[in-house]
Symmetry: C2
Subunit: 205 residues, 2 copies
């Protein structure tokens, strides 16, 4: 694509470096920026500079934070005896949105995936084990994706933690709420039968 300005060309290239944004979409987005007030575009650009200059990763759980310790780790109302292990900070947001969890988190920064060249040493596993050594933690909840990579990582973590006096649990797998039974795949349906739980009137409302 031949653009009439080298600045436009550069902006389109930068925009299309974002995942899932092609050249055509990038051009549409950049032309939209050009139609906005100059000060709005400068504010737009500044927000990304501020982002990389001022955010850090929480030194305890590796969540994104403005401070050394994130809002969840520094919140005295959260249960420090429970750590929920997730792969990504987006998973924290997803779990927080459920309003069902009051413990803390630990962000691995991915899952073990030899295909993508990600080994255990690339993940925040050592810091997790250090947190467990303190003796405060009673339960570790494994909340990774239900994929082969997630399962591999769960298994690796479970083995690493087997000599530590901590209860290791895993989030349940089964039929999604609102799903039709007949459309569930066999593995999920089989798992939901094996992991059946006592009927609870409160959850069945």
């Amino acid at each position: 694509m031949d653009l009439p300005s080298k600045y436009l060309q550069k902006a389109v290239e930068e925009m299309s470096s974002l995942p899932g944004v092609g050249k055509r979409t990038a051009l549409r987005l950049v032309l939209n920026l050009l139609q906005q007030d100059k000060k709005d575009v400068i504010e737009f650009a500044q927000s990304f500079v501020d982002l990389v200059e001022h955010t850090k990763l929480c030194s305890t759980c590796h969540n994104i934070s403005d401070q050394e310790i994130c809002g969840i780790c520094s919140n005295s109302g959260r249960d420090k005896a429970t750590i929920c292990v997730v792969s990504d900070i987006r998973d924290i947001m997803a779990i927080e949105n459920t309003m069902q969890y009051k413990g803390t988190y630990h962000v691995l920064g991915g899952v073990i995936s030899p295909m993508d060249g990600v080994g255990p040493n690339d993940l925040n596993i050592e810091t997790l084990l250090t947190r467990l050594m303190s003796g405060v933690v009673k339960e570790v909840i494994l909340a990774l994706s239900a994929t082969t990579e997630g399962d591999t990582t769960n298994f690796y973590l479970f083995k690493k933690m087997k000599d530590i006096d901590v209860k290791v649990t895993i989030i349940s797998r089964g039929i999604g709420v609102g799903s039709e039974l007949e459309y569930a795949d066999e593995v999920t349906l089989g798992r939901s039968i094996i992991n059946r739980s006592p009927f609870d009137l409160n959850l069945s409302k």
Copy 2:
């Protein structure tokens, strides 16, 4: 969505201000930026600042340009006697990509659309008429979208130009190249019959 950092929040808000980018996509894009090198993100942001600070609109045709006069208007190889009227700079790129046009352009900056509050005075029509007064221009090609708004604008321009000694043409409407006849709508098919042209062996290859 409750984000763990106000800078992240701000960046996601800015990203989701782009057309067609929702909060979830914005978060995915911003988290991707966070994983890149700091200097790459600063370059990313700078490209948009440069864009609004250094690009201008060509004083002749209103195309985006780094200079006062755009590359097409200042190119002595282009036919200055022909002006192709388009609504948007993306249309220039689309026509340039066909390699079938060697004249100049005039960007209206939209089409007349009372529903969107766009009237003739919001478009670059006066500057078009001024260009025609110079006497250099022999033909004006109307290349607006084949919509009601495009037709209204064509009609308005045609009336404005009727006392000026210039040939006014319009790009042909008909069956798209590679399209099946049976799937064409009646209006398009009807128009393609009315506007039939002598068979040309060169175009039918």
